[in-house]
Subunit: 155 residues, 2 copies
Protein backbone atom coordinates (compact mmCIF):
# COMPACT_ATOMS: atom_id res chain seq x y z
CA UNK A 1 0.00 0.00 0.00
CA UNK A 2 2.90 2.30 0.75
CA UNK A 3 4.14 2.69 -2.79
CA UNK A 4 0.61 2.77 -4.11
CA UNK A 5 -0.32 5.59 -1.77
CA UNK A 6 2.75 7.56 -2.78
CA UNK A 7 2.01 7.01 -6.42
CA UNK A 8 -1.62 7.90 -5.93
CA UNK A 9 -0.79 11.22 -4.32
CA UNK A 10 0.24 12.97 -7.50
CA UNK A 11 -2.71 11.63 -9.41
CA UNK A 12 -5.06 12.63 -6.63
CA UNK A 13 -3.73 16.15 -6.52
CA UNK A 14 -4.11 16.37 -10.27
CA UNK A 15 -7.73 15.35 -9.85
CA UNK A 16 -8.11 17.78 -6.98
CA UNK A 17 -6.87 20.64 -9.07
CA UNK A 18 -8.52 19.97 -12.36
CA UNK A 19 -11.70 18.49 -10.99
CA UNK A 20 -13.42 15.44 -12.37
CA UNK A 21 -15.68 16.14 -15.29
CA UNK A 22 -17.57 12.90 -14.88
CA UNK A 23 -18.62 13.76 -11.36
CA UNK A 24 -18.67 17.50 -10.91
CA UNK A 25 -21.35 17.64 -13.54
CA UNK A 26 -23.47 15.08 -11.72
CA UNK A 27 -23.82 16.95 -8.46
CA UNK A 28 -25.61 20.24 -8.01
CA UNK A 29 -23.57 22.95 -6.27
CA UNK A 30 -25.43 22.40 -2.97
CA UNK A 31 -24.78 18.67 -3.22
CA UNK A 32 -21.09 19.34 -3.83
CA UNK A 33 -20.96 21.43 -0.64
CA UNK A 34 -22.80 18.78 1.35
CA UNK A 35 -20.61 15.99 -0.01
CA UNK A 36 -17.32 17.75 0.73
CA UNK A 37 -18.59 18.55 4.23
CA UNK A 38 -19.50 14.87 4.64
CA UNK A 39 -15.94 13.95 3.77
CA UNK A 40 -14.50 16.39 6.30
CA UNK A 41 -16.96 15.26 8.98
CA UNK A 42 -16.03 11.64 8.48
CA UNK A 43 -12.33 12.43 8.53
CA UNK A 44 -12.83 14.49 11.68
CA UNK A 45 -14.48 11.55 13.42
CA UNK A 46 -11.51 9.38 12.52
CA UNK A 47 -9.07 12.05 13.68
CA UNK A 48 -10.88 12.07 17.01
CA UNK A 49 -10.61 8.31 17.31
CA UNK A 50 -6.87 8.44 16.70
CA UNK A 51 -6.50 11.16 19.32
CA UNK A 52 -8.36 8.98 21.82
CA UNK A 53 -6.09 6.03 21.05
CA UNK A 54 -2.94 8.13 21.42
CA UNK A 55 -4.16 9.52 24.73
CA UNK A 56 -5.49 6.21 26.07
CA UNK A 57 -5.28 2.54 25.20
CA UNK A 58 -3.59 2.17 21.83
CA UNK A 59 -5.22 -0.29 19.46
CA UNK A 60 -3.20 -0.56 16.29
CA UNK A 61 -5.91 -2.14 14.15
CA UNK A 62 -8.36 0.62 14.97
CA UNK A 63 -5.80 3.40 14.45
CA UNK A 64 -4.80 1.84 11.15
CA UNK A 65 -8.44 1.59 10.06
CA UNK A 66 -9.05 5.23 10.99
CA UNK A 67 -5.91 6.35 9.16
CA UNK A 68 -6.92 4.38 6.06
CA UNK A 69 -10.35 6.00 6.08
CA UNK A 70 -8.75 9.44 6.21
CA UNK A 71 -6.25 8.59 3.47
CA UNK A 72 -8.99 7.10 1.30
CA UNK A 73 -11.07 10.24 1.56
CA UNK A 74 -8.06 12.54 1.14
CA UNK A 75 -7.10 10.79 -2.09
CA UNK A 76 -10.60 10.71 -3.57
CA UNK A 77 -10.36 13.91 -5.60
CA UNK A 78 -12.36 16.27 -3.39
CA UNK A 79 -11.34 19.16 -5.63
CA UNK A 80 -14.25 18.12 -7.84
CA UNK A 81 -16.54 19.22 -5.00
CA UNK A 82 -15.45 22.84 -5.31
CA UNK A 83 -17.16 23.52 -8.61
CA UNK A 84 -18.76 26.74 -9.84
CA UNK A 85 -21.42 28.10 -7.51
CA UNK A 86 -20.06 26.36 -4.42
CA UNK A 87 -18.26 29.45 -3.14
CA UNK A 88 -21.15 30.70 -1.02
CA UNK A 89 -24.21 29.61 0.93
CA UNK A 90 -27.02 28.08 -1.10
CA UNK A 91 -30.24 28.39 0.88
CA UNK A 92 -29.87 26.31 4.03
CA UNK A 93 -26.63 24.80 2.77
CA UNK A 94 -23.93 26.87 4.39
CA UNK A 95 -20.25 26.89 3.57
CA UNK A 96 -17.30 28.41 5.38
CA UNK A 97 -15.04 28.37 2.34
CA UNK A 98 -13.18 31.62 1.60
CA UNK A 99 -13.28 33.12 -1.92
CA UNK A 100 -9.49 32.76 -2.08
CA UNK A 101 -9.84 29.01 -2.56
CA UNK A 102 -11.34 29.63 -5.98
CA UNK A 103 -8.78 32.18 -7.11
CA UNK A 104 -5.47 31.08 -5.63
CA UNK A 105 -4.95 27.80 -7.46
CA UNK A 106 -1.26 27.57 -6.73
CA UNK A 107 -1.62 27.86 -2.98
CA UNK A 108 -4.62 25.51 -3.00
CA UNK A 109 -2.48 22.98 -4.82
CA UNK A 110 0.27 23.31 -2.24
CA UNK A 111 -1.97 22.79 0.79
CA UNK A 112 -3.85 19.99 -0.97
CA UNK A 113 -0.63 18.18 -1.80
CA UNK A 114 0.70 18.66 1.73
CA UNK A 115 -2.53 17.28 3.18
CA UNK A 116 -2.61 14.24 0.91
CA UNK A 117 1.04 13.48 1.61
CA UNK A 118 0.48 13.81 5.36
CA UNK A 119 -2.58 11.55 5.18
CA UNK A 120 -0.67 8.94 3.21
CA UNK A 121 2.29 9.14 5.57
CA UNK A 122 -0.08 8.70 8.49
CA UNK A 123 -1.64 5.59 6.92
CA UNK A 124 1.78 4.13 6.19
CA UNK A 125 3.04 4.88 9.70
CA UNK A 126 -0.09 3.52 11.37
CA UNK A 127 0.40 0.25 9.48
CA UNK A 128 3.87 -0.10 11.00
CA UNK A 129 2.45 0.26 14.50
CA UNK A 130 5.04 2.34 16.38
CA UNK A 131 2.96 4.59 18.65
CA UNK A 132 5.60 7.34 18.93
CA UNK A 133 5.99 7.52 15.18
CA UNK A 134 2.23 7.51 14.74
CA UNK A 135 2.00 10.42 17.14
CA UNK A 136 4.48 12.39 15.03
CA UNK A 137 2.76 11.53 11.76
CA UNK A 138 -0.60 12.39 13.29
CA UNK A 139 0.70 15.75 14.46
CA UNK A 140 1.91 16.52 10.96
CA UNK A 141 -1.45 15.51 9.53
CA UNK A 142 -3.23 17.82 11.96
CA UNK A 143 -0.96 20.67 10.97
CA UNK A 144 -1.74 20.10 7.30
CA UNK A 145 -5.47 20.31 8.11
CA UNK A 146 -4.97 23.53 10.06
CA UNK A 147 -2.85 25.09 7.29
CA UNK A 148 -5.75 24.80 4.88
CA UNK A 149 -8.35 25.93 7.42
CA UNK A 150 -6.27 28.98 8.22
CA UNK A 151 -5.96 30.01 4.59
CA UNK A 152 -9.22 28.92 3.07
CA UNK A 153 -11.86 28.50 5.80
CA UNK A 154 -13.72 31.23 7.61
CA UNK A 155 -13.72 31.01 11.40
Amino acid sequence: MITRLRAAALGAVAIALVGNAATASDLKPEEQIQTRQAGYKFMSWNMGKITAHLEGDYNQAQVEAAANAIAGIANSGMGALYGPGTDEDIGDVKTRVKPELFTNQQEVGEVAMAFIEAANNMAETAALGDKAEVKTAFGELGESCKACHKKFRKD
Copy 2:
Protein backbone atom coordinates in the same frame (compact mmCIF):
# COMPACT_ATOMS: atom_id res chain seq x y z
CA MET B 1 -2.88 -3.78 0.31
CA ILE B 2 -4.74 -6.92 -0.69
CA THR B 3 -3.72 -9.06 2.25
CA ARG B 4 -4.02 -6.13 4.63
CA LEU B 5 -7.55 -5.45 3.50
CA ARG B 6 -8.48 -9.08 3.93
CA ALA B 7 -6.93 -9.16 7.38
CA ALA B 8 -8.59 -5.90 8.31
CA ALA B 9 -12.04 -7.16 7.42
CA LEU B 10 -12.44 -9.39 10.45
CA GLY B 11 -11.13 -6.75 12.78
CA ALA B 12 -13.36 -4.14 11.25
CA VAL B 13 -16.43 -6.30 11.65
CA ALA B 14 -15.46 -6.95 15.24
CA ILE B 15 -15.31 -3.20 15.75
CA ALA B 16 -18.57 -2.78 13.88
CA LEU B 17 -20.33 -5.24 16.12
CA VAL B 18 -18.93 -4.36 19.51
CA GLY B 19 -18.55 -0.66 18.88
CA ASN B 20 -15.58 1.41 19.88
CA ALA B 21 -15.66 2.56 23.46
CA ALA B 22 -13.11 5.28 22.87
CA THR B 23 -15.27 6.96 20.27
CA ALA B 24 -18.90 6.11 20.85
CA SER B 25 -18.64 7.89 24.16
CA ASP B 26 -17.22 11.01 22.52
CA LEU B 27 -20.09 11.65 20.14
CA LYS B 28 -23.61 12.55 21.16
CA PRO B 29 -26.32 10.39 19.59
CA GLU B 30 -27.23 13.10 17.08
CA GLU B 31 -23.56 13.43 16.13
CA GLN B 32 -23.33 9.68 15.65
CA ILE B 33 -26.30 9.82 13.25
CA GLN B 34 -24.80 12.75 11.35
CA THR B 35 -21.40 11.09 11.15
CA ARG B 36 -22.69 7.78 9.87
CA GLN B 37 -24.78 9.64 7.29
CA ALA B 38 -21.66 11.56 6.27
CA GLY B 39 -19.90 8.26 5.67
CA TYR B 40 -22.74 6.95 3.54
CA LYS B 41 -22.99 10.20 1.60
CA PHE B 42 -19.30 10.18 0.82
CA MET B 43 -19.40 6.53 -0.22
CA SER B 44 -22.42 7.27 -2.40
CA TRP B 45 -20.54 10.02 -4.20
CA ASN B 46 -17.72 7.62 -4.91
CA MET B 47 -20.14 4.92 -6.07
CA GLY B 48 -21.56 7.48 -8.50
CA LYS B 49 -18.11 8.29 -9.83
CA ILE B 50 -17.39 4.63 -10.45
CA THR B 51 -20.71 4.24 -12.27
CA ALA B 52 -19.80 7.19 -14.49
CA HIS B 53 -16.42 5.66 -15.29
CA LEU B 54 -17.95 2.27 -16.11
CA GLU B 55 -20.53 3.87 -18.38
CA GLY B 56 -18.11 6.33 -20.00
CA ASP B 57 -14.39 6.89 -20.22
CA TYR B 58 -12.66 4.55 -17.79
CA ASN B 59 -9.89 6.13 -15.74
CA GLN B 60 -8.24 3.50 -13.58
CA ALA B 61 -6.57 5.89 -11.14
CA GLN B 62 -9.83 7.64 -10.40
CA VAL B 63 -11.79 4.40 -10.05
CA GLU B 64 -9.09 3.02 -7.76
CA ALA B 65 -9.16 6.20 -5.65
CA ALA B 66 -12.94 6.04 -5.37
CA ALA B 67 -12.83 2.36 -4.44
CA ASN B 68 -10.17 3.02 -1.81
CA ALA B 69 -12.29 5.78 -0.28
CA ILE B 70 -15.25 3.41 -0.04
CA ALA B 71 -13.13 0.62 1.43
CA GLY B 72 -11.51 2.99 3.91
CA ILE B 73 -14.89 4.17 5.16
CA ALA B 74 -16.35 0.66 5.15
CA ASN B 75 -13.51 -0.61 7.33
CA SER B 76 -13.58 2.28 9.80
CA GLY B 77 -15.84 0.70 12.38
CA MET B 78 -19.11 2.47 11.63
CA GLY B 79 -20.88 0.19 14.09
CA ALA B 80 -19.71 2.62 16.77
CA LEU B 81 -22.05 5.18 15.20
CA TYR B 82 -25.13 3.12 16.06
CA GLY B 83 -24.98 3.70 19.78
CA PRO B 84 -27.85 4.00 22.26
CA GLY B 85 -30.33 6.72 21.35
CA THR B 86 -29.48 6.69 17.65
CA ASP B 87 -32.46 4.52 16.71
CA GLU B 88 -34.83 7.42 16.03
CA ASP B 89 -34.97 11.07 14.96
CA ILE B 90 -33.38 13.56 17.33
CA GLY B 91 -34.89 16.98 16.64
CA ASP B 92 -33.92 17.98 13.13
CA VAL B 93 -31.53 15.07 12.85
CA LYS B 94 -33.52 12.42 11.02
CA THR B 95 -32.60 8.78 10.57
CA ARG B 96 -34.09 6.10 8.36
CA VAL B 97 -32.68 3.23 10.39
CA LYS B 98 -35.12 0.46 11.30
CA PRO B 99 -35.40 -0.75 14.91
CA GLU B 100 -34.34 -4.21 13.75
CA LEU B 101 -30.76 -3.03 13.32
CA PHE B 102 -30.48 -2.68 17.08
CA THR B 103 -32.02 -6.03 17.94
CA ASN B 104 -30.90 -8.43 15.23
CA GLN B 105 -27.16 -8.50 15.87
CA GLN B 106 -26.54 -11.69 13.94
CA GLU B 107 -28.10 -10.47 10.74
CA VAL B 108 -26.43 -7.05 11.13
CA GLY B 109 -23.11 -8.84 11.43
CA GLU B 110 -23.79 -10.82 8.28
CA VAL B 111 -24.69 -7.83 6.12
CA ALA B 112 -21.84 -5.78 7.60
CA MET B 113 -19.32 -8.51 6.84
CA ALA B 114 -20.69 -8.97 3.33
CA PHE B 115 -20.45 -5.22 2.70
CA ILE B 116 -16.90 -4.93 4.01
CA GLU B 117 -15.77 -7.95 1.99
CA ALA B 118 -17.41 -6.54 -1.15
CA ALA B 119 -15.79 -3.14 -0.57
CA ASN B 120 -12.38 -4.73 -0.07
CA ASN B 121 -12.81 -6.93 -3.13
CA MET B 122 -13.77 -3.85 -5.13
CA ALA B 123 -10.65 -2.00 -3.99
CA GLU B 124 -8.45 -4.97 -4.82
CA THR B 125 -10.07 -5.44 -8.21
CA ALA B 126 -9.89 -1.73 -9.08
CA ALA B 127 -6.16 -1.81 -8.36
CA LEU B 128 -5.71 -4.55 -10.96
CA GLY B 129 -7.44 -2.43 -13.57
CA ASP B 130 -9.53 -4.89 -15.60
CA LYS B 131 -12.72 -2.98 -16.40
CA ALA B 132 -14.89 -6.08 -16.84
CA GLU B 133 -13.78 -7.46 -13.49
CA VAL B 134 -14.29 -4.08 -11.87
CA LYS B 135 -17.82 -4.02 -13.23
CA THR B 136 -18.53 -7.39 -11.63
CA ALA B 137 -16.98 -6.41 -8.30
CA PHE B 138 -18.85 -3.12 -8.37
CA GLY B 139 -22.14 -4.92 -9.01
CA GLU B 140 -21.50 -7.15 -6.01
CA LEU B 141 -20.67 -4.13 -3.88
CA GLY B 142 -23.91 -2.45 -4.90
CA GLU B 143 -25.85 -5.59 -4.02
CA SER B 144 -24.28 -5.65 -0.57
CA CYS B 145 -25.39 -2.04 -0.04
CA LYS B 146 -28.92 -2.86 -1.14
CA ALA B 147 -29.09 -5.95 1.07
CA CYS B 148 -28.54 -3.80 4.14
CA HIS B 149 -30.87 -1.04 2.96
CA LYS B 150 -33.63 -3.57 2.36
CA LYS B 151 -33.35 -5.06 5.81
CA PHE B 152 -32.39 -2.13 7.98
CA ARG B 153 -33.36 1.13 6.25
CA LYS B 154 -36.83 2.60 5.90
CA ASP B 155 -37.87 3.63 2.39
